[in-house]
């Protein structure tokens, strides 16, 4: 009991602290500006808020279109139980990306300008439109869940009628902007370090987004199973992991061919910070999970599957941070590390995502197919047992 209480209060206290710091940082950001709240400078105009909140955030939400495509287009109906949590994560993810963008934009009140002031030559313009449209698509894809709650069957029927075109549009939009997040950096051939700059950046970003989309679905299933006593469809998740491994394989071959083609293999052995970070991201995010998850035994084991998926997620985050931040440090001739206020805002956004997901699961029919096959010990049950035990004493 004591241990359990201290665990809960620890997380609650942490969340409380993060939100308090986040609120203070928000206040400073919007009253005194970016200079007072961030470590950004003319040499380093993009930092954590772009690198993590936007570039990484959008990638981590890629599970939405991956799973929706698998179930609705490729007709792999057995993955149906994880469609809703995947769509929910994607929808929350994109909402938070837009929310986080408001912090980073210097003139956030003019964000709507992208709707009427067009520049089709700009990758950023394309990303802006795709994100706007895809967030709308996700809202529609998710709407049946909310409508079910309020028993609006007629509207649900209408949405279900347009579901297939909706999913197709969603996949196309995702394909476009997941890759375009990589295209953003095509403009900086001299600035971005050679291990990351490549004409294939859009392709790398797209393939790795699908891989991490699979990994995120697994990770969030594990976390939800733990938190809400939802069943864990181990066989489904193991299959998703297999798709993830295939995508990692494609990614690894593309990366290798690219390095050979650019005659940049020697960069892999230059003793400098970028090299070590590149190896770290490749070992953690590609080699290790591939070796681990390629083995059926590991894939179908509780710890193996979770560890493998976590590695893909961490490696993905490292890759995006390297591409957006570390890869530019050599050129800028100086380092960048986020200010505590930048960190506070980012952590708050992440924490907010967790809270919103938990609330949605609590009040909406997200896990409808939870005929638990392998139920985990539930936290509530532990506490009840402990309570009974302490009362008896």
């Amino acid at each position: 009991m004591k241990q359990f209480l201290s665990k809960i209060t620890f997380w609650k206290a942490t969340a409380g602290l993060i939100f308090a710091a986040g609120i203070y940082a928000t206040f400073v950001r919007f009253t005194e500006g970016l200079g007072a709240s961030t470590n950004l400078s003319d040499d380093f105009p993009w930092g954590l808020w772009i690198g993590f909140d936007v570039i990484t955030g959008v990638g981590l939400a890629a599970g939405g279109f991956t799973i929706a495509g698998m179930v609705h287009i490729f007709n792999l109906k057995r993955f149906e139980p994880i469609v809703r949590p995947a769509i929910l994560t994607a929808f929350l993810g994109y909402t938070l990306v837009i929310f986080g963008l408001m912090y980073d934009l210097g003139r956030p009140l003019q964000i709507w300008h992208a709707i009427i002031m067009w520049n089709p030559r700009s990758v950023m313009f394309e990303v802006a439109w795709c994100v706007m449209l895809y967030t709308t698509v996700l809202a529609l894809e998710f709407s049946p869940v909310v409508l079910e709650k309020f028993k609006l069957t007629k509207t649900i029927k209408l949405i279900k009628k347009i579901m297939i075109p909706l999913v197709i549009v969603g996949i196309l939009l995702s394909t476009l902007h997941q890759s375009s997040l990589g295209s953003i950096y095509l403009i900086a051939p001299d600035k971005l370090y050679g291990l990351w700059y490549s004409a294939y950046l859009p392709l790398f970003f797209y393939v790795s987004a699908i891989a991490v989309g699979c990994a995120m679905v697994i990770v969030e299933s594990f976390l939800s199973a733990r938190a809400f006593n939802k069943g864990l469809e181990m066989d489904l998740l193991a299959d998703i992991a297999r798709i993830g491994v295939v995508m990692l394989g494609v990614y690894l071959s593309l990366k290798t061919v690219d390095l050979i083609e650019r005659k940049a293999l020697s960069l892999l052995f230059v003793p400098r910070l970028e090299t070590y970070l590149y190896w770290l991201e490749m070992v953690v995010g590609v080699f290790a999970p591939m070796i681990l998850l390629a083995r059926r035994k590991m894939r179908e084991s509780y710890n193996g599957l979770f560890a493998g998926a976590m590695m893909i997620v961490v490696g993905f985050i490292l890759n995006r941070m390297n591409t957006s931040i570390t890869g530019f440090e050599g050129w800028a001739g100086k380092g960048y590390f986020p200010s505590w206020m930048e960190l506070a805002v980012t952590f708050s956004i992440v924490a907010f995502g967790f809270v919103a997901f938990a609330l949605a699961v609590k009040y909406l029919p997200i896990f409808t197919h939870s005929e638990h096959r392998e139920t985990l010990p539930r936290v509530d049950e532990w506490t009840r047992d402990l309570q009974i035990a302490s009362e008896q004493r």
């Binding site: 005194e32 105009p45 003019q110 700009s122 403009i187």
Partner: protein, 260 residues
């Protein structure tokens, strides 16, 4: 047709008097402190390299990177040459700063509703037929204003006249597709902080390579996804239909046996 304006900066003639910066600050109403790094209050600065002075400022590229990357079109390349910024359009994404190969755009970090700042090539003065304030103020002719084609010709003539003095290069003729600010020098450019390995292609072509594939991706992707759905869906339908047929078959067979 309006001819393209440009400026030729002859590094050998610059004495480092800073009159260009003073004139620039006066023209643009900026704080009149001496600055050596480009900033929101310094659109041009002088950098000293061992007694040699180099003017830094917006290069007003022929195919400007900033114009191409801005999602809301806050940057425009005017026909006369200046690259201009419109703060009323800007959303503050700072992609221009991230993308500029010359690292020119500066941000008002201290401001709560910041703007990007950079040299405007005195576009207002150009419209009135005047030359930019810096060129007018330059006492030695180190900064010379004129037509781009003519200035390139003149630069090559100056180099040809004194080949032992000048480095045989006019910086800005072909860098990232060409710029409106041209430099000639007696010291190799890489020793003066110039980026000499810039691509000869305008940088926007790099992103355009990717962007121009969008229609293909949408068309091919759309047809592919619809095709896959049609096939998988059809398979399910056929299965259902066959099951029903079989059911009906069984039932009619049953009837037959009953009748007998």
């Amino acid at each position: 047709m309006i001819t393209k304006k440009a400026m030729l900066i002859d590094i050998t003639l610059c004495v480092g008097c800073n009159a260009c910066q003073v004139a620039c600050k006066e023209e643009n109403g900026l704080a009149d402190t001496e600055e050596h790094i480009l900033s929101p209050t310094a659109y041009t600065v002088l950098n000293e390299y061992d007694g040699t002075y180099v003017r830094r400022m917006c290069q007003h590229c022929v195919d400007p990177t900033c114009v191409s990357v801005c999602p809301v079109g806050a940057f425009t390349k005017t026909e006369a040459g200046p690259v201009l910024y419109d703060a009323d359009k800007c959303i503050g994404c700072r992609y221009c700063m991230q993308a500029c190969p010359f690292q020119v755009p500066r941000y008002e970090w201290a401001d709560n509703y910041p703007r990007v700042q950079k040299c405007k090539f005195c576009a207002g003065r150009l419209e009135k037929g005047l030359q930019p304030a810096c060129a007018e103020a330059c006492p030695t002719g180190a900064t010379k204003f004129g037509e781009r084609d003519e200035l390139i010709r003149e630069a090559h003539e100056r180099i040809a006249a004194e080949p032992e003095k000048y480095v045989n290069k006019v910086y800005g003729v072909e860098e990232v597709g060409g710029t409106s600010i041209l430099y000639i020098s007696n010291v190799p450019f890489e020793q003066l902080g110039f980026r000499t390995n810039l691509s000869k292609l305008p940088l926007p072509t790099l992103t355009w390579n990717a962007l121009s594939k969008i229609p293909t991706v949408v068309a091919v992707g759309g047809v592919f996804l619809y095709g896959v759905w049609w096939i998988t869906n059809r398979r399910t339908e056929v299965q259902k239909y066959e099951a029903k047929l079989k059911e009906m078959d069984d039932r009619s067979n049953g009837h037959d046996t009953l009748n007998q």
